[in-house]
Subunit: 389 residues, 2 copies
Amino acid sequence: MHSQHTRVTPPEASGLATLDTPAALISVPRMQHNIARMQAQADALGVGLRPHVKTSKCTPVTQAQLAAGARGITVSTLKEAEHFFAAGITDILYAVCIAPHRLPQALTLRRRGCQLKLITDSVEGAQALADYGRQQGEAFDVLIEIDTDGHRSGIKPDSPAVLAVAEILRQAGMSLLGVLTHAGSSYELNTPEALTALAEQERAGCVLAAERLRSQGFACPVVSVGSTPTALAAGHLHGVTELRAGVYVFFDLVMHNIGVCAQEDIALSVLTTVIGHQRDKGWAIVDAGWMAMSRDRGTARQQQDFGYGQACDEAGRPLPGYVLIGANQEHGILACAAEPDPDIETRFPIGTRLRILPNHACATGAQFPVYHALAEDGQPQPWSRFHGW
Amino acid sequence: MHSQHTRVTPPEASGLATLDTPAALISVPRMQHNIARMQAQADALGVGLRPHVKTSKCTPVTQAQLAAGARGITVSTLKEAEHFFAAGITDILYAVCIAPHRLPQALTLRRRGCQLKLITDSVEGAQALADYGRQQGEAFDVLIEIDTDGHRSGIKPDSPAVLAVAEILRQAGMSLLGVLTHAGSSYELNTPEALTALAEQERAGCVLAAERLRSQGFACPVVSVGSTPTALAAGHLHGVTELRAGVYVFFDLVMHNIGVCAQEDIALSVLTTVIGHQRDKGWAIVDAGWMAMSRDRGTARQQQDFGYGQACDEAGRPLPGYVLIGANQEHGILACAAEPDPDIETRFPIGTRLRILPNHACATGAQFPVYHALAEDGQPQPWSRFHGW
């Protein structure tokens, strides 16, 4: 069984033989489908789309989103801002509250021509930003982060702190663009009704904060909301000007469990090779461990637990029931989750190549320095991805 | 509260002000202590130490292990082998069963002078290796992986397959060095008695396999065992020639819960900055999310759950009870796990710098392209770490 010699390669995977494993694959047709779907959703809702590029950290992916109609991007680190500004993208929202020590880096980006937008959610943070901006003669563009679901950061829409922060920024001559929120608790839901209700809560809370600001004389032109699940579930976005979402570009098993994509929409997978078996247990050992898949076990607390990922054949067709039930650093344990497969050795001989769909595309992508983008013809093209801060 | 201006810096952390956050810090004194401890253990047990460098993927760390007496290294990928061979290390054991498609890369390394050792745990894998070696005229150095605890790969010590694999290798003229095992289930234990018992099971199983091979005329000079917990718990290693262990070089909270290190031994931490609060909930928001800490929640199923990590002050002194109770990609939620701290805002104002001890050093380290090594004087020195395959 010299499987590297006898393996039959499906035509759809003809270009994969040159890749070592584990490798991160992007199905470009699926990615383009996902991009078009979210852009159509934003268009239908009458808002701009500002994709969160932390998911891919990859220039060709981001360029595809902009080519499809996105207006500006969202980033989670200033390294992302630096990288994408260097790639020619100027309209960048840094959607993590600015730490005072990072203000000089933000200033440098703006002085170089980047339309960098910052966010803050506290009087202390706003004061540090305002003081630095005034001292440097820079009218930073700022949004106030609003907390519409209690899951993380932000000021409650009806809190006096919303106005206090705005006043600090106004007095220092900063440019208050508006308000922003992210209903990240959408990841805990799994029915259309619950998602639509949360999308409305996210919208209404953010619009309320904007209206309170406007009643005090702040123009507040931007009202920015979103997460992939709420973006896709929103019934309307009255009062909102832009939508942010990230993981939709690839989708993943967590999103599948939430109910916003099919497995067939998932554009990111990990190519892996079978390296051994434990026949008595029905295990195949593959070379995609947690270093490749990440330690993300986001489906563990959802309706269907996919372990460390759903197995597919080399061409990307799901193999129902076969998941990575365990993972060490460079070993994955592939098994039929329902009951041990007595034929595991003959079904997946050593050298067999499979693809594994990830629980969480943002986390799995981050494990790889490069993606291999597969166009319709199955030929892989390397798309680099950056790492670190 | 312009905390970046007023923050009082402990003398032990004087060199950290220049670092952006999140940053991976190595305490060099702690690392050297850990290295010396494991080397002394191997010396006392009368075996060689072959550290597993997948934990650090960092040349200065590996060089420190070799300088302290280690004999050769263990790697989990051929990229590690390439990297460390380029750094001048020749005695390298690749401790993941060799996939047939990787044999040409292994051959190239050997032809360049790397004393690369391979492992296999199946008749199929051994046959592919033997065929390729014979075809190329290369007598690969091979160890047979033995399964002494059922947690992953390997052949049971008493299985006929041990002899069958050896015979395949002999007939093709390969060099059978011996046997190797890794009792990775040691991570599930937490008492000295249980660890010592598992260490004995690991030793006895591997020695049994070696004796069975010797009874059939195979010299089997190498008997290689180990994991950090069993290495430290072993009462004796009669019949064993070398010990492998990896995570001990840094240790982590999982190892602390297992009982083989103190929190004060943990040499890897993540420097982070407070960027906000949710006072009503007793939360401080920090800029170390799961992208920095990794998604590893290894302590979740242990006796003490440290969330995404244990908080320490900037100088590395643990703050008992304060852990990252949650994490998003670039946000960590720091709280007193027992009960909400009403003074969280004044205790940790915006701009405060903290260190977070990781659940799993191998996973957290992998999130960073560089470590910052802190010697006694607290001055950081960048030590690069490589990424990917």
